[in-house]
């Protein structure tokens, strides 16, 4: 059973993955996978290493073409895009799907601000009359570039990077780079944002900041989120809906609580339960308390 949402208008489906199969040579990375991502929700895709999560992502964002199946993206306007038929860059431009990468891919030699301006390439390109008008110094382009900087500023503020705007992106700390990558993706005005392990390598404080940013994106911009995550604390904390994969097939699908208590998930993914951790911690606290006493 799905958790009932307060606003049923928001819970229509934005992304429909239908019977997707992906083979690499003889290896089946995803096998007949179907799941939905609902609008205005954070959907998490979890599963053990090699379960095919990143492959699903690459199919959705056009870096791979699935061997079989359909991936349908329904925009707010009602326009439906067949993502499995589109080439990589049109998925962002036409279908309004943006993504981040597991091993952060920033333009390290450009400044933080420039990274966000590159993300507005298509808008600015049109405003500059495909370079010709801009080269001649037309006003329309000048206005557009001012607007682009304003938008970049807005996202810098949200990602808490405003004071780093003029530093090279490669100079940022790990956590800041992750936030910048998300801000950059948001500058393309996506309707669906796909995040590949956004919390990997973050310390607990940075993790909290990330959760805040992701929630803000969902609540303030109406963007839906699909994320892959290893860190269960992030998944359980922020996601509205969890899909669990193992060996390229779906083994569970539901709210975080439902998934957490699904015996199939515990067996396949967790392997260890939290009680064991607590037990050992208790034991040690006990022992040291005694020693001190």
């Amino acid at each position: 059973m799905m958790e009932p949402r307060e606003n049923p208008m928001n819970s229509d489906v934005i992304l429909k993955v239908e019977h997707v199969t992906m083979r690499f040579g003889g290896l089946v990375a995803i096998n007949d996978l179907s799941f939905d991502v609902r609008r205005n929700e954070i959907t998490a895709l979890i599963g053990p290493n090699g379960a095919g999560k990143t492959t699903v992502f690459n199919c959705v964002t056009g870096f791979y073409r699935p061997t079989m199946g359909r991936i349908l993206m329904t925009q707010k306007s009602g326009k439906v895009c067949h993502l499995e038929r589109m080439t990589d860059f049109t998925i962002n431009r036409e279908a309004k799907v943006a993504r981040t990468f597991q091993n952060i891919r920033l333009f390290t030699g450009l400044t933080v601000l420039e990274n966000l301006l590159v993300a507005q390439h298509n808008t600015l390109m049109r405003a500059s009359g495909y370079t010709v008008l801009g080269l001649l110094g037309f006003k329309g382009y000048r206005n557009a570039s001012v607007a682009a900087i304003e938008k970049a500023k807005l996202w810098l503020e949200r990602a808490d990077l405003l004071d780093r705007a003029d530093d090279p992106a490669g100079d940022l700390s790990y956590g800041a780079q992750r936030r910048l990558e998300i801000a950059r993706a948001m500058c393309t005005d996506p309707e669906l944002l796909c995040l590949d392990e956004p919390a990997a390598g973050l310390n607990p404080r940075e993790s909290l900041e990330l959760n805040k940013l992701l929630r803000a994106i969902r609540d303030d911009t109406g963007t839906s989120l699909l994320l892959i995550e290893h860190d269960m604390s992030v998944v359980m904390e922020i996601s509205d809906h969890v899909v669990v994969l193992e060996y390229g097939t779906k083994i569970s699908d539901g709210t975080p609580d439902e998934v957490k208590n699904d015996p199939k998930v515990i067996a396949a993914y967790l392997g260890v339960d939290d009680e064991e951790v607590d037990e050992v911690l208790d034991e040690i606290t006990h022992a040291t308390d005694e020693a001190q006493a």
Partner: protein
């Protein structure tokens, strides 16, 4: 006082002008499992590379068995029998599992290869099944096992393990940590372990160090660190897999 197997004295390492390690002091005694925990970007992997001379310290000293190895080239340090299973596993993708293991055993020109490889296959039976496969086709967990086995093939006096749990499902982490424990118990292998998974690391090790922003901020027996409220707040609660 017994001379420690490895002693890091006031080591400072830079990437360009960015200081990655500042005044790090660490000791590892023979037969111990010592762990270093800390968040990503704290400088843990830099320390591993500094010990191996791959990212040499600008100041300070690294002393192994009484020899100053701070400025030694990496391959000569390896020949002193310090073996590393580095961050990201770094297995040779286009070589077979066997060839990867042979690379590990090349210090002795494969003299003990046959007997050692059997030990590895007992320790990690999955590798035996895959010995003729190209390493790049292994799963993440198998690659991690291969990386550790390759390091062990060098018959190390000191084994450096960098994030053996990274990106692995909890079940596999358990298996790998169990293997390390067995090795330490049975062959008195000295292990210096870097981990982000603080709980698992502290549970396994004898002593631990905590690193924050390139500095060692805390150290002590692992059990004490596990019980320390600061450590628990920062590294254990809300983060364990």
């Amino acid at each position: 006082m017994t001379q420690p197997l490895l002693k890091v004295e006031n080591a400072e390492t830079y990437y360009g002008n960015i200081r990655a390690l500042s005044g790090v002091d660490i000791e590892v005694q023979k037969g111990e499992i010592v762990c270093l925990i800390g968040a990503n970007g704290a400088g843990k992997s830099t320390l591993m590379m500094t010990i191996c001379g791959a990212q040499p310290a600008r100041t300070g000293r690294i002393i192994f068995e009484g020899t100053d190895i701070t400025r030694m080239p990496t391959h000569e340090i390896a020949r002193l029998r310090i073996a590393q299973s580095p961050e990201g596993r770094r297995i040779f993708q286009r070589m077979t599992v066997t060839e990867n293991l042979q690379m590990g055993a090349s210090l002795d020109k494969l003299a003990y290869y046959k007997e050692d490889v059997e030990k590895m296959f007992t320790l990690f039976p999955r590798l035996k099944e895959r010995q003729h496969q190209r390493a790049g086709t292994l799963s993440g967990g198998e690659q991690q096992m291969l990386s550790i086995a390759r390091a062990l093939m060098a018959r190390p006096k000191l084994l450096l393990l960098d994030e053996p749990s990274l990106g692995l499902a909890p079940l596999i982490i358990k298996q790998i940590f169990e293997a390390i424990r067995v090795l330490n118990k049975e062959t008195a292998l000295t292990v210096f372990l870097v981990e982000q998974n603080a709980f698992a690391a502290l549970k396994l090790s004898d002593r631990g160090y905590v690193m924050v922003n390139g500095r060692v901020t805390m150290s002590g027996p692992s059990k004490e660190l596990l019980a320390n409220p600061e450590v628990r707040a920062a590294y254990l609660e809300g983060g364990h897999h």
